[in-house]
């Protein structure tokens, strides 16, 4: 390269090989990425350390155990004053309210997604999709307030009596408590809260199904519903399951709205209309009042369990959604 260079070329040659710039940038980015891991590790170590007391005293029994209260003659699970610590009613409350909320939310969410992707007229699609996703932006305390003032009275006056008379024989809907609070009320409010995430992700995996799949089914003489079932839902099912599990992850950890309507009694009842308590709600309720070391440690251990479960549930869901939408442009139709 001995020839005379132009001004531009001389300017660019003077910039050197930029090896240091590239390396600095790379290490900065690695640092940013590592900070995420550091945060997770810090949370886990803190939770594990501060729950040492119950971890050592009860071991895994913490999640199974039930006590017998000699004064009332009834089984007891959680009574910090008398030293009873068992997470069983909270695990039960969390599972029951979350799974019930899925039962309510999934058909609705899939219906919304099917309508939006397959049959909605173009001018309605964007506003409707926007509105469903807007539901996700409402703070959970607002949902809680709405539930306390509107939903719970409605359930108490109209829905619960119907459930008792119609489905009371199953044993799942008897024994209505007079407040209207309980598993069923929290499941309904949870269903409203997880609806947007399930429907928007379902919509995303459905739009990732190539148009040629729809045409292939239609060309066989399929009706609209048959086309959606065979050409779209079938191809998107792994992703839809992922969306549902992601909704489950959100329901498991939801705290505020549930705390306001579940009733906060540490008991295990078969009836969905009974009051109960969930893992998140007991922490929110009692953390500020916990005075004994054992009580505090027990609450933190519940937190640790909730943390681990939600992380695993979310990881599974993300993997499933990713497996379906990988590489497919979201807007492709």
């Amino acid at each position: 390269m001995a020839q005379e260079h132009s001004a531009i070329r001389r300017y660019l040659l003077a910039r050197g090989n930029s090896a240091i710039a590239d390396r600095v940038f790379k290490s900065l980015m690695v640092l940013c990425a590592l900070s995420i891991f550091a945060i997770v590790v810090l949370i886990v170590t803190e939770l594990v350390q501060r729950s040492q007391l119950t971890l050592h005293t009860f071991g895994f029994q913490f999640f199974w155990k039930s006590y017998f209260d000699p004064t009332t003659g009834l089984p007891a699970y959680w009574d910090p004053v008398n030293g009873y610590f068992s997470a069983l009613p909270f695990v039960y409350g969390t599972l029951v309210s979350s799974l019930l909320s899925l039962l309510l939310a999934v058909p609705l969410a899939v219906g919304v997604a099917v309508f939006l992707t397959e049959m909605c007229p173009g001018f309605l699609r964007a506003p409707l999709a926007f509105l469903t996703e807007l539901l996700a932006a409402i703070p959970s305390i607002i949902y809680g307030l709405w539930a306390v003032f509107v939903l719970v009275p409605l359930l108490r006056e109209y829905v619960n009596p119907l459930l008792v008379s119609g489905l009371g024989w199953t044993g799942l809907f008897n024994d209505q408590n007079p407040t209207g609070l309980g598993y069923f009320a929290s499941a309904v409010i949870l269903a409203v809260m997880i609806l947007p995430i399930i429907s928007s992700l379902t919509r995303e995996v459905m739009t990732a199904v190539p148009h040629s799949q729809r045409e292939a089914v239609l060309a066989l003489g399929a009706t609209r519903w048959e086309m959606i079932r065979m050409g779209v839902l079938r191809n998107a099912r792994v992703g839809i399951v992922g969306a549902i599990i992601l909704g489950l992850g959100r329901a498991l950890g939801e705290t505020m709205a549930v705390t306001m309507v579940i009733g906060n009694t540490p008991q295990i009842k078969r009836s969905m209309l009974a009051t109960g308590s969930s893992m998140a709600s007991v922490i929110a309720n009692e953390f500020t009042e916990a005075v004994s070391d054992m009580h505090l440690s027990a609450l933190i251990e519940i937190g640790l369990a909730l943390f681990i479960v939600t992380i695993i549930v979310n990881a599974i869901a993300r993997l499933l959604v990713w497996a379906v939408t990988r590489g497919a442009p979201v807007t492709q139709r």
Partner: protein
């Protein structure tokens, strides 16, 4: 001014796929060199090894030496520096859709912190004139986006963008294959005019195109270079039977 390229024992892999095998070749400075061959023969991989774009794919691997002038591009320097000296035009026009025409052309210089306004204006004009696009866009330089142009204009915009940094080598990977015949002939005229100032390496499917624009032609087949000679010789009197079969259309 361009520099010559000296390729010795170049091998390249995509994963377990040995896409280039023992390529040896001298590309002359300030001339156009065409690379022809059937799809998947490795000619695109080859040009991507000349500006170290090949290694941006995580499963890709390269061995061998490529010298540009007195610089061994795999030993003496970084990919960043080599790409400042080697321009590239891709198969599909890829202007930056969020930038104006002017900013598209100036992108390479702005990226490098070049901020002399007057000089930039001059370079943008000169580059667009060199790529035969100036007359069509001079009134909308800062008004229109790079993506608002037609396909052929977009490709000439990409050439202007590559020329703006005054590269020593210009790599073109099937630059006209996505264009209509009129745009194609404009691009070919352009290569014909530019080749006295730059070392141009052009990959093409179109043998007439190779014959029209290039002094030298290399024929690739199954990851090997079968023959490299003057374009005239390759197309009239090739020394290898396989080259003859290919250019006479007996396969590929």
């Amino acid at each position: 001014m361009g520099v010559g390229i000296e390729v010795t024992n170049l091998n390249a892999w995509y994963g377990a796929n040995h896409t280039l095998q023992d390529i040896n070749l001298n590309i002359p400075a300030n001339h156009a060199t065409a690379l022809i061959g059937p799809s998947g023969c490795g000619k695109s991989t080859f040009v991507r090894c000349l500006n170290r774009m090949h290694e941006t794919n995580p499963i890709a691997r390269v061995t061998g030496t490529v010298r540009m002038g007195d610089l061994d591009i795999y030993q003496d320097t970084t990919p960043v520096e080599i790409r400042r000296r080697v321009g590239m035009v891709f198969q599909r026009p890829n202007p930056f859709p969020t930038m104006s025409i002017y900013d598209n052309v100036a992108a390479g210089l702005k990226l490098n912190g070049y901020s002399n306004r007057r000089a930039l204006d001059e370079i943008v004009e000169k580059s667009l004139k060199n790529s035969a696009l100036w007359d069509e866009v001079k009134d909308d330089l800062k008004k229109k986006s790079g993506a608002s142009l037609s396909g052929g204009q977009q490709q000439r915009l990409c050439i202007a963008r590559a020329l703006a940094v005054d590269p020593e080598v210009l790599l073109m990977d099937e630059p006209a294959s996505a264009l209509d015949p009129v745009s194609t002939s404009k691009i070919e005229d352009l290569i014909f005019q530019l080749k006295s100032q730059y070392t141009i390496v052009i990959v093409t499917h179109n043998m007439q195109q190779a014959a029209r624009v290039a002094e030298k032609t290399g024929f690739f087949l199954n990851g090997r270079m079968v023959e490299f000679d003057s374009t005239h010789k390759i197309f009239t009197n090739p020394s290898d039977k396989r080259t003859e079969d290919y250019i006479t259309g007996r396969f590929g």
